[in-house]
Amino acid sequence: MYIIDTITGEHIPAAVSKIDLKEIALINKSKRFDFNWNAEKLNDVYKLAAEGISEPLGLMSLVDRPEDFATEIRLIAVSKDNKGKERRYDRIAGSMIAFACKESFAAGYNGFICLKPKTLIKDHYREKYNLQSTKLFLVSEGSNSLDLIKAYYQDGKEK
């Protein structure tokens, strides 16, 4: 998995890992991310970190739904300095979605992930990640989830 430095074009190896309550509180306090991440403490919260960059670049909250055979993405946010046209690093959100797909496969859900997006940006998610749309949710599973994993975990720098 890698992110791209938009200035140099360099591919920087990155990894997603679970964070504990203490780290969630610290990150929340830093105010480097939008949303109140303390409110996600009951879910599994992950950070995306890249080699040579001390601060996490992305956060994601996942809900494991074994009764529904699904991994639900509750929330994703890239750090405040990495959003918008002036962002320094690319592929952060996509890498975290691909990670969620991996988790879903490993749980035996056939890569089924879903998210409930704000209506106005639904089409962009659908287009960018080829997600299927239902009335409320966007969904990926099976071969599309495998494609997302291949797209974001490649170039021999897997972690």
Partner: protein, 181 residues
């Protein structure tokens, strides 16, 4: 600016294009769900459960094999060693998740059933040829390198923890460094 809810520090979405928002966030609607939305959501999960449970036998096997692939990759990708998750365990899972008998599988990868049994029970180290056959058998789903890394992980643990070997080999070592380390 969107109305601030109790649970979220809401982003000022007016500053960003839709594309930029989609690149930076996944976040649910902050307004409370209507009764209609709650019904639709319940229907969505109900459909999902039905879809999963109604998969064909072939799809079920495929899901189980993909699960094994990602569990294996997760295991070889982290530093923690777990004795139970050795090469034999994953090989046995690979065979049984296909609902195949050991004898049938041995035939499919052209080895003797006794040799397969030794691999599964960790009484024999798999050869390079065998891990390549496993990759070919899975049509590339589980690459030879993943199987090889698994063998390597077992070996690393063995070499780090084998005190008997150290005792036995110590008689072959003379004049060792006296420097403290």
């Amino acid at each position: 600016m969107e109305k601030k809810s109790k649970n979220y520090q809401v982003v000022d979405i007016s500053k960003f294009s839709d594309q930029d928002l989609a690149d930076a966030f996944v976040f649910p609607k902050t307004t409370n769900s209507s009764a209609e939305e709650k019904r639709e959501e319940a229907e969505f999960w109900s459909d999902r459960r039905k879809q999963f449970e109604n998969r064909t036998s072939e799809q079920k096997i495929y899901t189980k094999l993909l699960q094994l692939k990602f569990q294996l990759e997760e295991y070889i990708g982290n530093y923690k060693y777990e004795e139970a998750l050795n090469f034999g365990y994953f090989l046995n899972e690979y065979v049984s998740r296909q609902e195949k008998k050991d004898k049938q599988f041995a035939l499919e990868v052209d080895i003797k059933p006794a040799v397969l049994s030794q691999y599964i029970n960790n009484h024999r180290k798999p050869t390079e040829k065998f891990v390549v056959r496993l990759e070919l058998h899975s049509n590339g789903m589980i690459p030879a390198i993943s199987w090889f890394k698994l063998v390597q992980k077992d070996k690393e643990h063995e070499i780090m923890t084998n005190q008997d070997l150290r005792r036995m080999e110590s008689k072959h070592v003379k004049n060792h460094l006296k420097l403290a380390y």
